[in-house]
Symmetry: C2
Subunit: 310 residues, 2 copies
């Protein structure tokens, strides 16, 4: 029987494990099928994690975290979790892919959310080297430069507005002739002199070289090409919330979620289910930053410790 099962090995999961074990909790296992570090490890540059001043890759930023966070007894199980459920006796069951099951007194879920890919040529090749899915993270690297933002929903338009305060110009590319975003946001985008709308257009491909992205080729509805020599392309075509392991037999989620599938928490990272906590990008209103996920993880670790001990 585990005292605490942590599902996910990004900044939230690692920090939760650090705090729970350093607080004296035994038998704490972090389930993460790959190397710990999370989504940030696919980012080529980060400079806004406070206390780490040098610009470095996400991989380098996270390199020291597993050793530090596992120093107090946190264990890493590379098995993939398929389901978390709670029995009537209050114990959680962690089902692993392959059929094995583990029991735990408490659970922190921090499996994150993943930006969807738009699936154009070169997108994966240049991901983290010119292709970004986060204006807050990477916008500053394109200060006073021209960039492309791709998408038509609320977050695409909000991210385009964010970029317009940093970049010299933002080409907002959308495949339809109108936006799904709220009318107020659409109006702000239309009135912003630094944003040029390119509607009814899709991305054919991006191109570049070893130093990164050099441009993007768009296709309009008549299949006419337009080549933009930008070094940054921001893709905002939706998020996948990694909540499938919370899905129960009857189709419902183990705890309350919002419409998008994000787990509803309070300021202490408590979910609607006693003993189940959530931290990082999987929760509602997450800022999707390493330092925010780590802060959530610390809080969730402290709260899980309190739950198990008392």
């Amino acid at each position: 029987m585990l005292d605490l099962a942590i599902i996910g090995g990004g900044p939230a999961g690692l920090t939760a494990g650090l705090y729970a074990t350093r607080g004296g909790l035994k038998n704490v296992v972090m389930f993460e099928k790959g190397f710990p570090g999370g989504q940030i490890t696919s980012s080529s540059e980060i400079e806004n994690y406070p206390g780490v001043a040098n610009i470095m890759s996400g991989m380098d930023l996270m390199a020291s975290w597993p050793e530090q966070c596992m120093r107090f007894g946190l264990k890493h199980n590379m098995a993939e979790v398929s389901r978390v459920s709670k029995r009537e006796d209050g114990i959680f069951e962690i089902a692993l892919l392959g059929g094995e099951k583990t029991e735990a007194k408490s659970v922190i879920i921090c499996t994150g959310s993943s930006p969807k890919r738009a699936n154009f040529e070169g997108e994966n090749e240049f991901f983290g080297k010119g292709i970004s899915t986060c204006a807050t993270c990477d916008g500053f690297f394109y200060r006073n430069k021209e960039v492309v933002a791709l998408g038509g929903g609320d977050s695409a338009l909000e991210e385009a507005l964010y970029l317009s305060h940093i970049c010299s110009k933002v080409y907002l590319v959308h495949r339809r002739d109108s936006f799904r975003a709220s009318p107020v946001t659409v109006e702000k985008v239309k009135n912003n002199p630094k944003i040029e709308l390119i509607l009814n257009s899709t991305v054919k491909q991006v191109y570049g070289d070893a130093s990164g992205l050099n441009g993007i080729i768009l296709l309009d509805k008549d299949k006419k090409e337009r080549d933009l020599a930008v070094t940054g392309v921001f893709v905002f075509v939706g998020m996948n919330v990694n909540n499938s392991i919370l899905r129960q037999d009857d189709g419902s989620f183990l705890c309350e979620t919002n419409e998008a599938g994000n787990v509803i928490v309070n300021l202490k990272m408590h979910t609607s289910v006693s003993g189940l906590f959530a931290a990082g990008d999987i929760r509602i209103d997450s800022s999707k930053q390493v330092v925010c996920a780590a802060g959530d993880g610390a809080t969730a670790g402290i709260e899980a410790l309190e739950y198990v001990n008392h």
Copy 2:
């Protein structure tokens, strides 16, 4: 007119400034009368800030933060703020000690909270060198050792329980013969074999040498002394919430607070007043950890940016 006034220069304020300026906000000023860094700078050891693996002093941990966080245009004003208020036109007024006033479109308040001192001999001398006010932060440094916890309220008893899972023994010292804490918590403390209650007793003094604390001398109600050779003393005699600058002419606070005076926020660090955000130990349900305050600061910075730009 400032775009954003940040009141307080700890991890929350610095990170808020980093995110707001890196996101393109101009005219952002952090008001902090002393050197930035916050309460953690009085701590002699920290090892649980993720990504900084070495054990170091709080001063060393924070040494690189001001430069990193001010790299994008954040300014530091060493004036002391006496009052924050909001005019009918939606603009905030920041009154400085001495009478000067500054205007700002948005405000982030992150002035923290300060643990109260118990005022015994040696308390200030050994603060951060054996005297602690945070079990989560420092308990682990006394693993398998005996410690003293001082206080009789809920948080004193909860911290004593926390310490009992790490330390070999916890002497819980309280000046009265009964506790103000909730009956459930009192029961847990009384049933915990690692906690010894020392009631009707006060601290005469602590003593030690250059390497830190060596012991504590207690006085019972008959003024009889008891000497305990502990190296750690945890003082939990209440918190001062640094919210006085929110107090208005009519005695009310600018925004909603709880009974203890902590600012009520949601997960996005919005207070009850539009354009006013709070971050770190001043807010309700804060975990009082550097990484949590920094996470709050990032969120508040992003939200203030959004508020000013749109």
